[in-house]
Symmetry: C2
Subunit: 210 residues, 2 copies
Amino acid sequence: MAPWAERLAGVRGVLLDISGVLYDSGAGGGTAIAGSVEAVARLKGSRLKVRFCTNESQKSRAELVGQLRRLGFDISEREVTAPAPAACQILKERGLRPYLLIHDGVRSEFDQIDTSNPNCVVIADAGESFSYQNMNNAFQVLMELENPVLISLGKGRYYKETSGLMLDVGPYMKALEYACGIKAEVVGKPSPEFFKSALQAIGVEAHQAQ
Amino acid sequence: MAPWAERLAGVRGVLLDISGVLYDSGAGGGTAIAGSVEAVARLKGSRLKVRFCTNESQKSRAELVGQLRRLGFDISEREVTAPAPAACQILKERGLRPYLLIHDGVRSEFDQIDTSNPNCVVIADAGESFSYQNMNNAFQVLMELENPVLISLGKGRYYKETSGLMLDVGPYMKALEYACGIKAEVVGKPSPEFFKSALQAIGVEAHQAQ
């Protein structure tokens, strides 16, 4: 048995990242990474279960999937695990009303969430919306809370766009942590709960996954 | 001898902070803190040497002093130790050409500094200039350097304006540190070198100062 086949012997499922693995995001919808469209097709044609597990939080799943399909990927919305819906579940469970420091592209994921009189902050890869004014609003919300809750969709340092390296949510999460003397709760990779929820969706145990 | 007089027995000089101690900054030049104008006058009329030691880095010393004089303070530019001129000295000594992520109000302090083809980043309390675009520019400069140098004018978490709490430079310094995996050099308080330079200016030893 070839080494790779041996390594895959006990594997039943595969989690695939999206940005930087399947495609590089950028102007005009980004570009597929060479070979990735074919790789996804081969995996989905195999005996393996496949799930897409992304920290993408500038776009709703609907928008992301639409973009990937236009690049040629065989992917549907229900195959994607993403931080925004995971955060919504946490907000509902804990009765949290967030100040949303997020990109407009992902706002629709929070349509069902009460954002009046905020008692927490949700921060995501907001891009240009990381203005001083918006950061200061988030900071002031946190400083007025007795128990400040900061939920961060991922904690990535930066990502690559076709135009160059771009600051991700992590640096801004660190900024608010330092300003308020608090520790954020990270929803998304590398949180173990996030990987677990992706595996649960395809009924695969951690030791059976790649 | 009264306890306070006893405590001051060996004291020859006093370092005074400015923002939040002498005045609260804000729209229209801010407001003097009650009793501070008189306190400065009494100190300067005493046998004690007085120096103003500030982390103010949104304004040039000229602008800051003008504002304080309008509020009634007896203060001149040559009595002020501030981070921007201290940083300029370091830049010159080390042949560093900064990308300046600073407030327009303090830019004149850097008039003599070569900012072409940057080989370091200087970050200060930039207020509204802490846009995503400017932060990303600073980040990209640092990521392209073999030995990234980030100089931060202070590392304050936040300060009080008449309109409320405002994010200071520290959170943004932390953001760039995390994004690039580096440690900033802090010029200004609480750096011991900064206090020493303020004391040197009035010829007072650390153990003789309050």
